[in-house]
């Protein structure tokens, strides 16, 4: 290494599947899964003679996304054909938007690595149709086409090359995902491919004015894969430059297993998509009232929700931010709080144990299997002293496995807190009898020894003893 300092420059192209009930150009279901080619019709199978009809909801959702990312909305827009051959593309062209996207010139705000606010420019948002899927050797050999996904509506959100670190990319994507979830235009399920990102990466010497040559990486389907791919690719580019080489502008495929990028096609095959205006569809014209109406009906966005949590529930800035990052988490918080009235406790459970389990399982908040009612009940049970917080943690674990009323779980597992004075007294006396050394220590003035004894009592009762009563009882018994 020459010891030169490099800067990574990144821009993102995010494809988000819109959560409309029907496809963009026909009335087939957009539901994920389903037996191959069951969500299809002559239109999305590109039978000869069929014509597309634009789903108005798709325009509405894209305009919502544009407004929520501070974009200008085009009053005059149109669809274009992007021509290329591939078996998952039944018409041999994708209906997309070329030179007149619906939304342009927006931004979203994230924090840079120092925690300062930073605006990331949104170049454009346009609507287009998704392609089908190829199944290789899955159904007894050969490659078979499944067109269930063909024609599912997408928005492509193209950012400016404003991102400078893996951390920024991660925060940008999470912010974008949260915005789309808030405005309810996409469920953004990465594992189902409804939120996918292509990353443009280039490197340059720190302080340089010109951008370096960029490569585009595709096929990353988790936040982790994106981070790894960028780190790999930036390093690769720096190595090439350091060795006196040149970066080729090309499209790369990330392979998550080997942790490497591979060139997708050679230069001879450079695609010429022959874009031209889609003659089967009329131009998209939006009135001022139409746009105004969508603007006025946008739901509460994360920023204002965060402020409200700090103000109304006295949550810390950090907790409020973490909760509102995910609309699902935030909705669960509000629903549970409404039932039990203990905002602090609900927030704590969501941000500590529940978030930890989600992380361990690599799940998104919308995969939480239990309901807000269950969480509220858990908080109430602890408040009432029916169970201890220690048991509460076990209940949460159990809720992920077997989501149902915590009261039932406690009953089934026999986790009810022991608050019966006689029973507690018996345990305390037993522990005192079995631990003469600790008793002696305590009596010799080592107050800490009582902690050990309480712990032993908890162990004896499998965590079910009421901790306040234990403390009190030990103090009384040891005075004797």
């Amino acid at each position: 290494m020459s010891g030169k300092d490099y800067e990574i420059v990144m821009g993102l192209e995010v494809h988000a599947e819109l959560s409309t009930k029907t496809k963009i150009f026909c009335s087939c279901s957009t539901e994920f899964g389903g037996a191959p080619n069951t969500h299809t019709c002559p239109i999305c199978m590109a039978m000869p003679g069929t014509l597309p009809v634009l789903n108005e909801k798709v325009v509405e959702y894209a305009v919502k996304a544009g407004l929520a990312t501070n974009c200008g909305i085009s009053r005059n827009s149109k669809n274009d054909r992007k021509n290329y051959f591939y078996p998952d593309l039944p018409k041999s062209y994708q209906i997309s938007q070329y030179d007149k996207p619906l939304c342009e010139h927006g931004y979203i705000e994230i924090e840079d690595d120092e925690g300062n606010p930073k605006k990331i420019g949104i170049t454009r948002i346009h609507i287009e149709e998704d392609a089908g899927k190829l199944n290789h050797n899955e159904f007894g050999g050969g490659s078979l086409v499944d067109l269930n996904r063909a024609g599912v509506p997408l928005i492509e959100i193209v950012s400016e090359p404003d991102l400078r670190s893996v951390g920024e990319v991660d925060r940008y994507l999470k912010k974008l995902k949260s915005i789309l979830e808030y405005i309810e235009v996409s469920d953004c399920k990465m594992q189902e491919g409804s939120f996918r990102a292509d990353v443009n990466v280039s490197v340059r010497e720190k302080g340089a004015k010109e951008y370096g040559t960029r490569t585009e990486m595709k096929n990353m389907n988790s936040f982790r894969a994106i981070t790894r791919a960028i780190e790999y690719e930036a390093e690769r580019q720096i190595e090439v430059i350091e060795a006196g080489g040149k970066i080729e502008q090309e499209t790369l495929r990330w392979d998550d297993i080997s942790g490497k990028t591979f060139s997708m096609r050679d230069k001879e095959d450079a695609q010429d998509y022959r874009y031209f205006p889609e003659p089967d569809l009329v131009a998209i014209r939006l009135s001022e009232e139409y746009i105004e109406n969508i603007k006025n009906n946008l739901p509460e966005m994360p920023e204002s929700r965060r402020a409200r949590y700090i103000e109304e529930f006295k949550l810390s800035e950090k907790d409020a931010r973490l909760l509102t990052n995910s609309k699902y988490l935030s909705n669960m918080f509000e629903a549970a709080e409404k039932i039990c009235g203990n905002a602090k406790a609900v927030a704590n459970w969501l941000l500590s144990d529940i978030s930890r389990i989600l992380n361990e399982k690599e799940l998104e908040p919308d995969s939480i299997p239990f309901k807000a009612e269950h969480l509220a009940k858990l908080v109430e049970l602890i408040e009432k002293g029916t169970i201890s917080s220690a048991i509460g943690k076990k209940v949460v674990e159990e809720l992920f496995e077997n989501p149902k009323d915590p009261e039932e779980i406690i009953k089934e597992k026999g986790w009810l807190q022991i608050s019966d004075e006689g029973a507690i007294k018996a345990v305390v006396q037993k522990v005192i009898a079995n631990n003469p050394q600790s008793v002696a220590d305590y009596k010799a003035g080592k107050d800490k020894a009582i902690g050990f004894l309480v712990g032993q009592a908890m162990k004896e009762t499998k965590g079910k003893a009421n901790p306040q009563m234990l403390n009190k009882m030990f103090a009384e018994e040891l005075k004797k």
């Binding site: 000869p48 003679g49 069929t50 039944p90 041999s92 062209y93 031209f276 003659p279």
Partner: protein
């Protein structure tokens, strides 16, 4: 009674008066097909047995008073690029030789609603690309006026079938003249409606911004009746217009007094056959005699229409025909080891030379680096063509031109020379470019008894004006009474 010589509106009357049954009519056409189809070769698929079966059902229902449409039980022929559920729709291509559409085109549905009987699917140039029907993969259709001559194209099967009385009427499609030019060559009436008047849903696309379905009939009244059936907004085709429904037969007034007819002189210049020119001039005199105001004017943008047309039509075709890739339906080569070969060989083997020529041309004009010089420029010229026509219609109600500069030519004389074939569209393409309605009606025959067509062009959605002008001429000239196809060999 010579049933197959009757027009549809005459059949309609006789059905209503119980002078004829649907079975009698259908039987007459089936017999006629058996007699003449071997000479004319207008059909890709005939549905004689099915048609007879259906005609009996309809007669039964009519007896019980269950028939709503007064046209119920009248047969029709359908160009083979209009989708018919359960029946082959081949576009006269090897690519779709065995293709059975899983759905009906909107116009097919509309014919079914009237209980018209599908007699079969009619031959055409492959994917509607051509002006002689010689580019059909299956067969070359003959012109009933002279079997050595082409019927025109691409709706040559439709026009020849109507002229030979193999069907009482037919549907065609017109992208650059494909209804009007064969109608002219075969001495029948062909109407291309305003772009957007008839739904394109289920018409296998050639050039989406130019294609329209329209009637090919024995007379103008039948054209108006068929237009009544097929016109109207379709929510499956967003380019279809939502203007209110009209009864086009009411426009047939047999009166052109005060009608302002413009004669664009560019259509009568170089390249026009003398006999064609003479018959057109006689037609103009007829209109004058009937009280129309006729004036010559210049529409010089028309000189650019053909080049513009071939760029736009081929560009759209290159994209529209991409779906014929051998993957989901249609022809697939047996000769491939990888995906690229599957594509290349399926398309090389499945498409004919003319289709390939146009795909290559269209791909070229859309390619980066050439787009601005060709496709974009053509779109700009298209705007100018529209403006020129707008200006003309400020002054005139209808424009009158020849439909084709020549009468039908002999088979094999142009098929090897694409450029000469393209010139057959010279009088008709600008109407598609501008999205206007145009009708071709016969206005005489030449010295060899070959029909000559006159084209009347109207402003957007003013089908009534051209229908009335055509009807008034027809009533005066009485072409069908004077001339008959000779089936000469």
């Amino acid at each position: 009674m010579d049933i197959t010589n009757l027009t549809v509106h005459e059949l309609q009357e006789k059905l209503a008066n119980h002078e004829l049954t649907s079975e009698e009519i259908t039987k007459a056409y089936v017999d006629r097909i058996k007699e003449k189809e071997a000479d004319v070769r207008a059909f890709v698929t005939t549905l004689c047995d099915e048609a007879l079966e259906k005609s009996k059902e309809i007669d039964d229902k009519r007896k019980k008073g269950e028939m709503k449409s007064s046209l119920a039980g009248i047969p029709i022929g359908i160009k083979d690029n209009i989708c018919t559920k359960g029946i082959r729709t081949t576009c006269s291509s090897k690519m779709l030789a065995d293709f059975i559409s899983p759905y009906n085109a909107t116009v097919t549905e509309k014919l079914l609603l009237e209980d018209l009987i599908d007699l079969g699917k009619l031959n055409m140039d492959e994917f509607a690309m051509g002006a002689s029907t010689e580019y059909s993969y299956f067969k070359k259709t003959s012109n009933p006026w002279n079997l050595k001559c082409v019927p025109g194209g691409s709706s040559g099967g439709s026009a020849a079938a109507v002229a030979a009385e193999l069907v009482p009427w037919a549907l065609g499609s017109d992208t650059g003249g494909s209804i009007r030019q064969p109608a002219s060559f075969c001495g029948v009436v062909g109407l291309k409606p305003t772009y957007g008047l008839v739904s394109r849903y289920g018409l296998v696309a050639f050039a989406s911004s130019l294609d329209q379905i329209g009637p090919i009939t024995k007379d103008v009244t039948d054209a108006a009746i068929l237009l009544n059936i097929i016109a109207g907004h379709d929510e499956k085709d967003t380019t279809s217009s939502d203007i209110p429904k009209k009864d086009y037969t009411k426009a047939l007034k047999n009166d052109v007094k005060g009608l302002k007819i413009g004669i664009p002189k560019e259509y009568f210049g170089e390249g026009i056959n003398e006999e064609v020119k003479q018959k057109l001039e006689e037609a103009i005199e007829t209109y004058k005699k009937l009280g129309a105001e006729v004036e010559e004017f210049s529409l010089d943008i028309a000189n650019y229409a053909l080049a513009t047309y071939y760029i736009i039509a081929c560009a759209e075709a290159s994209s529209n025909l991409g779906r014929f890739d051998g993957i989901r339906y249609g022809y697939r080569t047996e000769n491939f080891t990888n995906l690229k070969e599957l594509y290349r060989n399926s398309r090389s083997e499945g498409f004919g030379a003319e289709v390939k020529r146009r795909i290559i041309l269209g791909t070229y004009v859309l390619s980066s680096g050439y787009y601005d010089a060709y496709y974009k420029k053509a779109q700009q010229v298209r705007t100018l063509v529209k403006k020129e026509f707008d200006k003309a219609f400020e002054k005139y109600d209808v424009l009158l031109t020849p439909t084709s500069p020549t009468v039908a030519f002999e088979m094999g004389t142009r098929a090897e020379n694409p450029l000469e074939m393209y010139l057959a569209d010279i009088c008709t393409v600008s109407v598609n470019i501008a999205g206007l309605p145009g009708i071709s009606i016969p206005c005489g025959v030449n010295s060899e008894n070959m029909p000559i067509g006159m084209q009347l062009i109207g402003n957007k959605f003013e089908e009534e004006k051209i229908l009335n002008a055509a009807y008034t001429f027809e009533q005066e000239f009485r072409f069908r009474e004077k001339y008959k196809p000779g089936f000469e060999k």
